[in-house]
Amino acid sequence: MLVRITVLLVTGMLLSCNTKPPIPVSDISSQAPAEQRDESTATTPPVRATNQATTSLLAQAEAAQQSNAPDRAITYLERAVRLDPRNPALWTTLAKSHLANGNLVSANQYVRKAIALANDDSELSRVAWLALADIRDAEGQNTEATSIRRRYSRARG
C-alpha cells in the first residue's frame, strides 16, 4: 500500500513538472552556430519527455517489489533514473527500494541526492526528507528520525 501511494505521488509529481525543451543541435553538422542564451534568465528544469516512460517503469518496479523481487525493482528504478537523472522523485523511490533491501549506504546517498535535486520544490523535498527519516530509523537514529518527521509532516498542513 505504502509503495503504491509513493508511486501515485511520484507519478503525479512527474506529470506536473515544469517543462522547457533543451536546445536542439544537429546530429551531424559540425557547423552548428553558437547557441546564445540570455545570461539573466534563470533556467527552469528541462523537459520531462520521459514522463510516460518513467511512470511505466515505476509501475513495474512496484510489481517487482510486491512479488518480493527487490533486486529487479532496483533494476527498473535505475533504468528510470538513467532516463531522467535529475528527477528527485525517482531517486527517493530508489532510496526506498535500497532501504527495503537493507542497503542503507546507497539508501542514504540517494535520498540526499533527491533532497539536493528537489532544491526549492517543497513537496518533492518533503517526500525525500520523510524517506530519510525512515532510513535514520533503520540506522537506529530514532531521535533524528522523529525530529525530521515532526518538521516535514507538519509542512503538509
Binding site: D27, Q36, A49, I74, Y76, E78
Partner: protein
C-alpha cells in the same frame, strides 16, 4: 658347422613331420594375430572411450563473458529522428526488409519505421522478438505501437562490445540445436560430408573419393575427413599429420558416433569449428562467426552468407573474406551451386545469391561494436570481483554503461579535430595524441571513453593511464576552498608578483601566462581569466593544506606535490581522475564515481553482482552552485570564450601545462561531464593551450548532441557585478556578470550606475 648341419635337419625333419599342418599353423597364427589385434583394438577403443566420452559428455566450452553496451531507449518524446534510428539499427546489424520476415529487420513506410525487434535477455527479464511501429515528429519520436497497443517505452537490443576470451584466445558464442538454421546443417553435410547421416564416424567411400581426386590432381586436394573426424581433430587432437594420428582420429570418431546422436555431434561441430583469427582472438563456432563476419546473429544470415561461412572452414586464412575477397567469393559460389545440386535451394535463390556481394563487415574489428579503451575500464572494475578464469569460461553476461552512438561521435571528434589542428598549425601528421571521456553528471556512468586518436587500436589507454600535469584544471579546487571559507566571487584578490621561499628547496616565483599582472581583481575574474598570481595569492590566504585536503576528499587521492605549485596544477593526474574531480561540481556537490559496469549475470540469467550508482555528498549545495556559476563565467567571458557553446549554459575550465606540453579541457552541462586531454606521447611541446587544443575537441564533441543548459540558482540569489572590478553595477553601465552573492552589503557600488544599497543592506553593513 654343427649349427648349419643341424638346422636343415631340423627343418627337414619338422617339415616332413608337420607338413600337413602348415596351413593349420598359419591359420592358427593368423587367428591369434587377428584375435590379438582385435583385443588390442578393443582395448584401445575402451581406453579411448573412457578418456574421450566423459570429456565430451561433460563438455562445456569455455564460454567467454559477453559484454553489452547500454541499449537505446525508445519512448515518445525521445530526441531521435527516423534517420538516426535507422543508423542505430544498422550499427546493430539490422537490415532493411520489406517483409520484416525475421527479427533483425526493419522497413520504412510513409514516414514510419517498422522494426522486427530481436528477442533479448536483458538483465532483469527476457524480451521476446516483436514488431513495433514508430512515427516521428521532425526531431522526436511521436508514437510507438505494437500489436498489444501503444507503448510508452521499449529498447533496442544492446550491442555486444566485446568478450573476455581466455589466454589461449578461443572466443565463441555457444548455440543450442534449435538456434542453428537447417540450411547450415544441411549445407555442411552437402559440402563437407555427404554420408554424414549414414556413416559411423569415418567414410570409406569418402576416403576413396578423396584419394581419387587427389590422385587425379596429383596433389592433396581433399582430406576425406567426415564432420565427426573434423570435430575430433579440433576438439581433441593437435595439428600434426601422421598416420598414427589419423588412426586415432578415426577411432575417436567411431566412438563418438557410437555414443552420441547425430544432432549432438552436428551441434558440437557448429560450436567448435575454427573460423578465423583476429589478432590474438580465435573465432570459434558459427555463432561468433556470424557476428564477426556479418555483425548478425546466425539465425539472421541469408543463403549467401551461410555459404560464405561454410566456405571458410576449409581454410580460414586462405579463404579469408577480408584479405582474399575474390577467392572467398568464388568458393562461396561453388558452394551455392552445391546447395542447388543437392536440392537445398531453388534455382532463383541460387541466381540471386550468386549475384550478391560478399557482404562482410568493413573490417575485422567492425564485427559489432569494438571499443577496446572502454573495455579496459570494464576489465578493471570486474577484476575487483572476478577471476579472469571465471570471466573467460563461465558464459557470464556483463551489462555496461557505454552508449555506442556517443562513443562513435566522441571518437570521430577526437580523430577529426587532431587532424585539423595538425593541418592548421603545420604540425607533423599523427604527432598529436588525445584522450576523452564523457559521463552522466548525476549517475557517473561513463557514456564514452576514448584512449587515443585511433579508437579501434587496442593500445596504450591514455584516458585511464596517462598521468599528466593538469595545469589550471586544478584551480577550481582553490576557488572552492575560498568560497567554502566564506568568500564571495566579487571579493578582491591581488594579481601581483610574489616569491615563495619554502623551508627546503628553491624559491618559487610564478608568473601569469602573459607575464603581466593586473593588481586587485575579483575572484570571479581570477578564475575566469585563469590568473596564476591571483590564484597563488588566494591560495596562500586559504592555506595549501586546506586546499589539498579538499582535493583529497573530492578525488580520494592524496596530492603528490606538497608545494604551492600544486595550486597551479603542477600535479599529474589521469583524465579519468579529472573526470572524477569535475563530477563533484557537475553533479551539484556529489562525488560521483565514474563507472562502467552496471551488472553481471550468470549463464542462466541469475544476477551475480550489481554495481549501484555511487553518489556521495561532498560539497555544500550553495557553495557548489557558486562555483558552477563561476565556471560558467569562465566559458562566457574567460578562457573558454572561443567556444561556440560559450553562452549555451555550460561550465568548464581549460588547462595548459608548462611549455604547452599538455592541453586540457573539462566541462559540463546539465547532462554530461566531459574531459579532454591533447598532447604528445613523447611529452614534447605541442604549442597548444587548453583553449586551442582540447577545447576544440570538446566543441566538436558538443556538436553531435544537444546541450542541456545548466540550471541556475533562482534569480533572486544572483547579483550583477562588474567583471573587472567586482563592483555592484548594471548591464547598462558596465560589463557585468551574474553571480550568487549572499551578502550584497559587503560590495561597493560602481559610481554612475544609479544603484543604492537597500535599507536592509545598509543596516547589515553597519554591523560588519
Amino acid at each position: 658347422m654343427t649349427k648349419t648341419k643341424r638346422r636343415p635337419t631340423r627343418k627337414r625333419g619338422s617339415s616332413s613331420h608337420k607338413k600337413p599342418s602348415i596351413l593349420w599353423r598359419l591359420l592358427k597364427w593368423s587367428v591369434g594375430l587377428v584375435l590379438f589385434s582385435g583385443l588390442a583394438v578393443i582395448g584401445y577403443l575402451i581406453f579411448l572411450d573412457r578418456n574421450i566420452t566423459s570429456v565430451f559428455e561433460g563438455r562445456r566450452w569455455s564460454v567467454p563473458a559477453q559484454v553489452y553496451a547500454q541499449p537505446l531507449e525508445l519512448f515518445p518524446g525521445a530526441q531521435l529522428t527516423s534517420g538516426a534510428l535507422q543508423t542505430e539499427l544498422q550499427r546493430l546489424g539490422y537490415r532493411p526488409d520489406a517483409d520484416l520476415s525475421n527479427p533483425g529487420t526493419y522497413k520504412t513506410r510513409s514516414g514510419r519505421l517498422q522494426i522486427n525487434l530481436r528477442a533479448f535477455r536483458f538483465m532483469e527479464r527476457a524480451r521476446p522478438a516483436s514488431i513495433i511501429e514508430i512515427s516521428f515528429t521532425s526531431r522526436h519520436i511521436d508514437r510507438i505501437t505494437a500489436k498489444s497497443g501503444e507503448l510508452s517505452l521499449i529498447r533496442l537490443d544492446p550491442a555486444v562490445i566485446g568478450s573476455f576470451f581466455p589466454s589461449h584466445g578461443e572466443d565463441r558464442i555457444v548455440l543450442a540445436p534449435d538456434q542453428v538454421p537447417s540450411l547450415l546443417t544441411d549445407g555442411l553435410k552437402s559440402v563437407e560430408d555427404r554420408d554424414f547421416d549414414k556413416h559411423m564416424g569415418f567414410s570409406v567411400s569418402g576416403i576413396l573419393r578423396a584419394a581419387m581426386v587427389n590422385l587425379r590432381a596429383g596433389k592433396r586436394q581433399q582430406g576425406g575427413s567426415t564432420l565427426t573426424q573434423q570435430l575430433v581433430k579440433s576438439y581433441f587432437l593437435d595439428g600434426r599429420r601422421t598416420y598414427e594420428r589419423k588412426l586415432q582420429e578415426v577411432a575417436m570418431a567411431f566412438i563418438l558416433e557410437a555414443r552420441f546422436s547425430k544432432e549432438d555431434l552436428l551441434t558440437a561441430y557448429v560450436n567448435e569449428i575454427f573460423l578465423g583469427q583476429n589478432g590474438n582472438r580465435a573465432i570459434h563456432g558459427f555463432g561468433l562467426g556470424a557476428q564477426f563476419y556479418f555483425n548478425k546473429r546466425l539465425a539472421e544470415l541469408d543463403v549467401a552468407e551461410i555459404a560464405t561461412l561454410i566456405s571458410i572452414i576449409r581454410g580460414p586464412s586462405f579463404y579469408n573474406p577480408f584479405r582474399h575477397p575474390q577467392r572467398a567469393l568464388e568458393r562461396r559460389n561453388r558452394i551455392l551451386n552445391t546447395f542447388r545440386r543437392d536440392g537445398l535451394i531453388e534455382a532463383a535463390t541460387l541466381a540471386s545469391a550468386t549475384n550478391q556481394p560478399l557482404g562482410v563487415v568493413a573490417s575485422p574489428t567492425r564485427g559489432g561494436a569494438y571499443y577496446p579503451a572502454f573495455m579496459d575500464k570494464v576489465r578493471a572494475e570486474l577484476n575487483e570481483h572476478y577471476d579472469i578464469r571465471e570471466l573467460s569460461s563461465q558464459g557470464m553476461r556483463v551489462f555496461t554503461t557505454i552508449r555506442p552512438r556517443e562513443q562513435e561521435n566522441v571518437q570521430r571528434a577526437v580523430t577529426h579535430t587532431l587532424n585539423q589542428i595538425e593541418k592548421d598549425r603545420r604540425l607533423p601528421s599523427a604527432s598529436l595524441q588525445a584522450a576523452a571521456l564523457v559521463a552522466d553528471t548525476q549517475t557517473g556512468e561513463i557514456l564514452a571513453l576514448v584512449g587515443g586518436r585511433k579508437g579501434r587500436v587496442d593500445g596504450f589507454n591514455r584516458a585511464l593511464n596517462a598521468e599528466r600535469p593538469v595545469g589550471s584544471l586544478i584551480k577550481p579546487v582553490v576557488y572552492l576552498a575560498a568560497i567554502e571559507s566564506g568568500m564571495q566571487l566579487a571579493e578582491m584578490v591581488t594579481d601581483e608578483p610574489l616569491t615563495l621561499q619554502p623551508k627546503y628547496g628553491e624559491a618559487w616565483s610564478p608568473k601569469n601566462f602573459d607575464g603581466k599582472f593586473r593588481g586587485p581583481v575579483p575572484l570571479i575574474r581570477g578564475l575566469a581569466e585563469s590568473l596564476n598570481l591571483a590564484t597563488v595569492h588566494l591560495g596562500q590566504q586559504i592555506g595549501l593544506e586546506t586546499i589539498q585536503d579538499r582535493f583529497a576528499a573530492l578525488t580520494q587521492r592524496q596530492p603528490k606535490n606538497r608545494y604551492p605549485s600544486f595550486m597551479l596544477g603542477a600535479e599529474s593526474l589521469s583524465p579519468i581522475k579529472i573526470l572524477e574531480l569535475y563530477g563533484n561540481f557537475a553533479s551539484g556537490g556529489f562525488r560521483t564515481v565514474p563507472k562502467a559496469v552496471i551488472a553481471v549475470v550468470d549463464e542462466q540469467g541469475h544476477p551475480l553482482t550489481h554495481h549501484p550508482f555511487e553518489v556521495i555528498q561532498s560539497i555544500r549545495q550553495e557553495d557548489v552552485a557558486t562555483l558552477n556559476r563561476a565556471l560558467e563565467v569562465v566559458m562566457a567571458k574567460g578562457t573558454g570564450r572561443s567556444s561556440p557553446y560559450a553562452h549555451a549554459g555550460v561550465a568548464g575550465k581549460t588547462g595548459t601545462s608548462n611549455d604547452n606540453r599538455d592541453s586540457w579541457f573539462a566541462g559540463y552541462d546539465n547532462k554530461r561531464v566531459s574531459v579532454v586531454w591533447v598532447g604528445r606521447d613523447d611529452n614534447a611541446t605541442t604549442g597548444l593551450t587548453g583553449g586551442s587544443g582540447a577545447l576544440r575537441v570538446w566543441n566538436e564533441m558538443s556538436h553531435y548532441h544537444s546541450i542541456e543548459p545548466l540550471i541556475h540558482p533562482p534569480s533572486e540569489h544572483l547579483t550583477e557585478v562588474e567583471f573587472s572590478t567586482g563592483l555592484l553595477a548594471t548591464k547598462a553601465c558596465a560589463d557585468v556578470v551574474l553571480v550568487p552573492i549572499t551578502d550584497r552589503s559587503k560590495l561597493e557600488i560602481k559610481p554612475g550606475c544609479g544603484i543604492r544599497h537597500s535599507v536592509k543592506d545598509r543596516v547589515k553593513g553597519w554591523f560588519q
